[in-house]
Point group: C3
Chain length 274, copies 3
């Protein structure tokens, strides 16, 4: 797909600049595997991560954050109440909160937990195709007329249905990242395949979405697409120096930290898909 | 010890190639410290890690994995039941499972937990000399006639006894890694000392063993030796670029990802020890 | 501030050399985010980290360690009893223990937990300015006459009061790190700002303090200042090779591992502040 200059580059730059200028405090209730990369991604982007997950602290702490990030990766019965309490409080206070439904379909326990969280009105849900499809089917039933083997088309339709049902933005990561509010659909084309060989890159881009939405809550759709593109650009630039997944991880974080306007504007590749 | 060309190089290459081709799903119930490196090691090798530890999910999820990895590093009373449930289910379903008895002798609580896990018939147990000696003594009593100060000889004899008693493969990491099924003993000579200055390298090689055994369950002995050698080779190749333990960690993962047949065949160094 | 040659370089070198020679076993009950960097920092410095946090293991294990490190970063109700039990046992056995009161003021629950831990007589408390101020105010009331907007002055006075009240050493990280025993005050001037863009650097330097105090318990004040300076020097040396926070993290650990006497003596920058 040919990239055309459009309004997305300046939007993405505005979001990144706002994160750097405001350093929004982002509460992360995320899985153990991802904590290091999530925190370092947020710091590199200019945000301020706070990894507090304990239910006793939520009433005191969550009111002070700019956004909440919930990720169910290493879900357990004693973390779920915290996730729900924090999400509920964020919703009540009108603060954006973002859900990463890792492996949503891996068990009945996990799928139910994700459905309960979806009912607390996440501002954004980001997953891979199978996660979004599992969640959409469990939320709104099988997508009508879509039983093709084209997973990307399934995912787009599932994302649209889930966005409508949840009232939030839904993003699907893949070769092209899809973002929809149930009506509009855009594709973010940045990124490199080797990012999938690094654990927690999905978790980390969801955290970045939380930071971007934190500085522009009225435009969660645009902020989500911007964050996906910026993270993908950091991956592309890191890839030019990388010799494998571990050096890519390092260069990617460095590039996110150093990303300047010219590079971002020339590389942002977001297009309308519908 | 002079390295002689033998059948091990092609075996190790066959195992690594199978992991890359099949991308086996490996459930990891491992300690907090190691989760990042374990997941990235498995991804670099071509496997597919799943860090699910919650007891509610095991009946749904464990039947879909190719192998299970249990590591007691940051053991606690509320993780142990999950470890046992997953190990039991894996055993019942005939799936390989691998145990890393980190610091087995550090406390009575931990030693008992390890003994309970050993009774669930791990396909492979990998530890360092003191861990295997502690576990062997607690399982089968002091090794007869071995009270020398030569820890490596103690470890070999302890490993043999533990392998016989447990019915599985036992591997002991050290300057030379020892692998035994109670009868055969081989030594894997690859690796560099600085790997011990990186946290969770032991945990990670045990995860790699799980991936190798997953693609060749009938030959767990060979798969274990292959995994130890491949990981050691990645360390050797990484060491040629490293300036310290943190850059070694990075280069090692990159090298594991990029390891090609020629390098592997020329470097694999596994010899019979008995 | 002009650096003058003084006795601190040789002291810092003596502490680092002792850690390398003795490889003290340091029990770490630390937050999930920091575990990887804490363990790798201790290993690079020559110490031996043990990440055991389970209350059942403390009576067996804690008596064997040279020092204990407690960090409340991802505090929860079921970890707090372990922290208190280990701290109490360390105190009873005359072993040094070091507290990192991460985000002490973030919630009532957390502040109370920190106060309970302070009552167990930590050998050293290290935090940033806002953490030390929150803890000092909660321990001894508002610092008299200090209501200026100069946070660094507030912090110094708060540190002094907290040191007097707790009977231990208090360190405050910042542009200049402050160390006080309630009477003496020194500033450690090493380090670079980008270290704050790496998660868990604060946690890691507190772990390093534990290792340094472990090899010189009678001189916890000097050992604390040495550790802060050595960690800062590793950051300075790493910075000369870094292209961003992720490569700084790597080079910093490599430099800590390779730090030699000449570099340390020429760079140590600790001065009396009162």
């Amino acid at each position: 797909m040919e990239k055309e200059p459009n309004e997305w580059g300046p939007k993405a730059w505005a979001h990144l600049s706002a994160v750097r200028a405001q350093s929004p405090l982002i509460q992360c209730i995320t899985n153990y595997v991802s904590m290091d990369l999530v925190a370092n991604t947020l710091l590199s982007a200019g945000a301020s991560p706070a990894m507090l997950h304990t239910i006793e602290e939520i009433p005191d702490f969550t009111p002070h954050v700019r956004a909440l990030y919930v990720n169910v990766g290493t879900l357990s019965a004693n973390w779920l109440p915290s996730m729900k309490a924090a999400a509920q409080l964020a919703s009540q206070l009108g603060k954006p909160w973002v859900l990463d439904p890792v492996a949503a379909g891996a068990s009945g326990f996990r799928l139910n937990a994700c459905l309960e969280l979806v009912q607390l009105k996440p501002t954004v849900i980001r997953g891979n195709a199978s996660e979004i499809i599992a969640l959409s089917r469990a939320s709104v039933g099988p997508t009508k007329g879509v039983d093709s083997s084209h997973e990307s088309m399934d995912a787009m339709e599932a994302a649209r249905c889930l966005a409508e049902a949840s009232g939030g933005i839904v993003a699907v990561s893949g070769a092209v990242d899809i973002v929809t509010d149930g009506r509009r659909v855009v594709g973010a084309h940045n990124g490199v395949p080797m990012m999938q060989k690094i654990t927690a890159t999905g978790c980390s881009v969801t955290a970045l979405i939380a930071a971007f939405v934190a500085v522009d809550p009225p435009h969660a759709f645009e902020a989500t697409a911007s964050a996906l593109s910026v993270y993908g650009i950091a991956g592309e630039m890191g890839m030019s120096m990388a010799k494998g997944p571990a050096s890519l991880r390092m260069h990617m974080i460095d590039c996110l930290h150093g990303l300047d306007q010219a590079a971002l504007l020339s590389r942002t590749n977001i297009t309308a898909l519908s």
